[in-house]
């Protein structure tokens, strides 16, 4: 039987994150907070987009928030930007699992760049509403809060997203609407961690594209013949590596601008 090593590893990491989000109710000191800001074994981590919204609103960022945000931004910058979406985000895990429903693959899709517009809208809304707009309605925050404080009415928003993704538009939240995904795709553009491509091994069977929910990113190597995936939209999830029967794709570090 073929083992999907990358997907397996990814599920382990995703479930570890869920486990960490659950630990505060057990009273352990290991982890505190959620994906907006957390303390892991004393290490302060913060969402850089949250810090950016606070900066826009108040003109300053408290030092603990700033330090944690820079650490996280640097980490994801090194490891692929949208690795957050593929490996860490609990909402990503949920929508990922719902994609196992075969019917979802037949649905229409929205273009990827919707996220950048959503990011812009969120920053503008923050300024007009005088609140960090994304942090307030973030379905990622809602899922985290449901895990650490128990489920509540705000999960309706997450249910609505799932409903649209199962019935109307394939992966519309992660592909086209999540401002945080849009933000991290900017970091992904300059990240050294890439999906590499060896044209001589490729049979153009198209299985990689079928396994990928942002399959547009594979056009650069497959159609234009680049040596790696260029787009920042790639979540480095490794599904294409699992799908490729000839080993034409690999995960590697390389000079980001080459």
């Amino acid at each position: 039987m073929k083992v999907n090593h990358w997907t397996l590893a990814r599920r382990v990491v995703q479930l570890t994150v869920i486990g960490l989000l659950l630990t505060p109710c057990l009273g352990w000191g290991l982890f505190q907070g959620n994906l907006q800001s957390a303390s892991l074994l004393g290490l302060k981590l913060s969402d850089p987009l949250a810090a950016l919204q606070v900066l826009l609103l108040t003109g300053t960022v408290a030092l603990p928030l700033l330090g944690g945000a820079l650490l996280v931004l640097g980490g994801y910058g090194l490891l692929g930007g949208k690795t957050f979406c593929g490996w860490v985000c609990p909402l990503g895990l949920v929508t990922d699992v719902f994609e196992y429903l075969p019917s979802t693959r037949q649905l229409r899709i929205w273009p990827l760049r919707g996220k950048m517009i959503a990011l812009l809208v969120v920053l503008l809304l923050s300024l007009t509403l005088k609140i960090p707009a994304f942090e307030t309605i973030s379905p990622i925050g809602i899922v985290s809060r449901a895990l650490s404080f128990g489920p509540a009415s705000d999960l309706l928003l997450v249910a609505a997203i799932l409903l649209v993704e199962v019935l109307l538009v394939r992966r519309f939240w992660c592909r086209s609407l999540c401002p945080l995904g849009g933000f991290y795709s900017l970091a992904g553009r300059v990240s050294p961690l890439r999906i590499g491509y060896r044209a001589e091994a490729c049979t153009h069977c198209d299985r990689c594209r079928r396994s990928c929910f942002v399959f547009e990113v594979l056009d650069a190597p497959l159609v234009e013949g680049t040596s790696h995936v260029v787009s920042g939209e790639c979540t480095r999830c490794g599904a294409c590596l699992d799908a490729c029967p000839t080993g034409a794709l690999n995960m590697r570090f390389q000079h980001p601008l080459k």
């Binding site: 505060p24 505190q32 609103l57 919707g114």
Partner: protein, 209 residues
């Protein structure tokens, strides 16, 4: 701009606007709260809403689980920390773990001394219901106050109704009251006669025009 590109941009704009509109309606629908009791050190409410990134660390650091997170019915305060004093008031921990946990400065780290907390102030709102004011010896709010004889004192005077007994009235002193809400929780009435309200009562401008 190519036709395909143009269509893609239009879809994107539509998606973003739908999301923004949905979020706005969602938040508008429930912002009916007059005011919210925040954890110790909370900066002024407008500033608090700007600074709080809804990470929940103050709530997780609270040993008494007194800090709850605002849900959908909290409107624009969705995901922010709230204390519901009647259910579970702030215990004014001397080491202020909630303030220490806050990464964003929404809870002001300058607050080092728990008794200097000013998250609200107790008010004897239902004076006609208060047992003490009816001439009975209740004074539960006074006895449970962590700042006994400072934030709440007992003033006694002649019970004019009977003409021969005393009234032992609990009197709140704003300059000492932290707004912890322990008195609100302790009040023996079904509907508490003493509740924590905002430090600054709603301004008179509300009645203009």
């Amino acid at each position: 701009m190519s036709e395909e590109r143009r269509r893609a941009v239009i879809t994107g704009v539509r998606a973003a606007l739908t999301g923004a509109a949905a979020g706005y309606l969602l938040l508008r629908s429930g912002s009916g709260y007059a005011w919210l009791l925040r954890p110790p050190g909370a900066v002024e409410e407008q500033e608090f809403l700007r600074k709080c990134i809804r990470c929940g660390r103050c709530a997780q650091s609270c040993l008494y689980r007194a800090v709850d997170m605002g849900r959908l019915d909290a409107g624009i305060a969705l995901g922010t920390p709230v204390i519901r004093a009647r259910k579970n008031p702030c215990r004014l921990c001397a080491d202020l773990p909630c303030v220490k946990a806050c990464p964003s400065g929404a809870l002001d780290p300058q607050l080092q001394d728990a008794v200097k907390t000013r998250i609200g102030t107790a008010v004897l709102v239902e004076r006609q219901e208060c047992l003490s004011l009816k001439g009975l010896r209740c004074e539960v709010c006074y006895r449970t106050c962590p700042l006994l004889d400072k934030a709440i004192t007992i003033e006694n005077y002649l019970n004019a109704r009977t003409g021969r007994h005393a009234i032992f009235e609990p009197v709140v002193h704003k300059e000492h009251c932290t707004g912890c809400g322990i008195c609100e929780q302790a009040c023996v009435l079904d509907r508490p006669a003493i509740v924590v309200g905002p430090l600054q009562p709603p301004s008179e401008s509300l009645y203009e025009g």
